[in-house]
Subunit: 330 residues, 2 copies
């Protein structure tokens, strides 16, 4: 009797354990509400991974590409890489007394962003050149690593790297659990992302595609270094995204996620005339928990891609309706 009782305990314990594991395994996207959006994602993954399915895709062709700004992490009130650049101007200012009276640097130092923006694209390029070039790749990696580990968003008080979307982290993990290879394909700087994407998203440096500046190989004091030069090499945005994918990955994705018209060409390249395939657009609709913006926004403008989504068969995430939470619990 005692043995039987033990057996009962063990059996029911095992059943409970199995039950809870099964529940978790049954829901790989726990932060997604049970809406059509989630259902369409799961249906796609199941059909391309089901051996014998007419839509089966071999594991090595399961390439998934994700925009970063506004798709994996927030991008308001301006791209976080610009916040990094502005912080760098302030940190470097003691070595550049001339910046106190020279735009766009003076505007940055005085907190007068309007003065900075008045210089348009030329000013931004000057700021990027001053803050992103002129050092070695190792030095820049160190600078980014320190910033991303400490810098906080002024409105949320969170570290920028904590302003990643919990539902998208689950989506990345879900795809990888189904033998997808996940890539970032972002207009952001490739070397600005690489130092932290592996820890944050589970995406290693070699699977990050982004915009780049030119660089030169040289030997300094007997040590090989990559020197970052103040010249644009490649802009990984709009029609540049399919080129970036082609150059770095060499395969057409079967899954692409973006949030703006800058992702339109990537979504098109991934999905048009290619089946099975999946296009996902993150639509920022949640002014309470994040930000709400689309057609009129200067950052992450979503207009043409939103118009085209239905006809192209792209799935639009309504952040407010589809996501239970925005950011990971702290």
């Amino acid at each position: 009797m005692r043995l039987n009782f033990c057996a009962f305990l063990v059996a029911s314990g095992a059943a409970m354990l199995t039950g809870s594991l099964t529940a978790a395994a049954d829901d790989p996207l726990p932060s997604w509400n049970e809406t059509a959006t989630k259902q369409s994602i799961v249906a796609f993954v199941e059909k391309v991974t089901q051996p014998g399915s007419p839509d089966f895709v071999p594991a090595d062709e399961r390439v998934a590409t994700f925009d970063n700004d506004g798709t994996l992490w927030s991008e308001q009130p301006y791209y976080f890489q610009l916040a990094f650049a502005l912080d760098r101007v302030k940190a470097m200012a003691p070595d550049h007394p001339e910046w106190n009276t020279k735009q766009p640097f003076q505007g940055v130092l005085e907190g007068d962003l309007k003065a900075v923006m008045a210089g348009g694209k030329k000013s931004l390029i000057e700021i990027v050149a001053a803050t992103h070039a002129g050092m070695t790749a190792d030095e820049f990696e160190q600078i980014v690593t320190e910033w991303i580990s400490t810098a906080k968003h002024p409105q949320t008080g969170r570290l920028y790297k904590e302003m990643v979307y919990q539902p998208m982290l689950e989506l990345l993990a879900y795809l990888r659990a189904n033998d997808f290879k996940t890539f970032i394909v972002s207009g952001g700087g490739i070397e600005f992302m690489r130092p932290w994407t592996e820890a944050t998203y589970g995406i290693p440096p070699e699977q990050v595609v982004g915009s780049s500046i030119q660089s030169r190989y040289e030997v300094r004091d007997g040590k090989p270094v990559i020197v970052r030069l103040p010249e644009i090499d490649f802009i990984d945005d709009k029609e540049g995204k399919p080129i970036g994918i082609h150059t770095h990955i060499g395969r057409r994705p079967i899954f692409a996620a973006g949030n703006s018209d800058g992702d339109w060409a990537m979504l098109q390249y991934t999905t048009i005339g290619r089946s099975p395939s999946f296009g996902l657009i993150v639509h920022h609709t949640d002014a309470d928990r994040e930000w709400a913006y689309d057609r009129e926004s200067h950052i992450g403008q979503l207009d043409k891609a939103l118009d085209d989504a239905e006809q192209k068969g792209w799935t639009v995430v309504d952040m407010k309706q589809d996501w239970k939470v925005i950011y990971p619990a702290k």
Copy 2:
């Protein structure tokens, strides 16, 4: 007694099986002779993968880069990609009657390579532009796939893709079995290699780095295409190799293999001031089974890197002494 006898048979059978499996597992490089070269490779892999070793390297940092021409497959009497280009000129000639009287094409069609080479680099660029550009990426992939599946080397009668080095195939597999990520970093065309490197070397397209021409994204007849343009984009040779590695991989390798001075910078970038690390040079010393060449060769010149190998601690493979076989059994 009978049962015991059976047990003995089973036990000794199992022992035999274990023995043979152990022998295979004990020798991951069966086509390498038991020389210092093989021992140094194995010693390196063991020390970087041994948890607790002072030289332990986490799996995600185990990046290994391989040159292709002369390192993974043969390259004589000229780069196999040139053989491809010459074959393409012949195949395309019916659509280009003007080539019959126009160098360097006339020389190709008449089998007069001296006339082709008389035009130097300019002629080669003309041939590459005519044969590698002007079509979509998908079309070019199809052309390469057909050629690599059928084209044979005039001297060996083997398919070019069968002229890969069996010992290097084993080395690639051995590294991957020890959680290295293996990359090609070649002066050859990236899109010339990608269609066949996965089947041949186990290296997927996204882990191939090479020289490239420019390309443009466009939509043709409603279908997104990448169009190949007759302009050089990037030359992945010499000082370009560390840049190619930095751009595509974003990590410094801990293992690099090459065979010529074109790999000198990659070997330097991988090994100098970085420990643990491993540099390997394939020295073509076997005129009977392959080719013997180094300092004076126009293809795969190995001069400076050979001089420097000892001082830099690079391991030099003596093909004749170190390799039991050159090519895979047919």
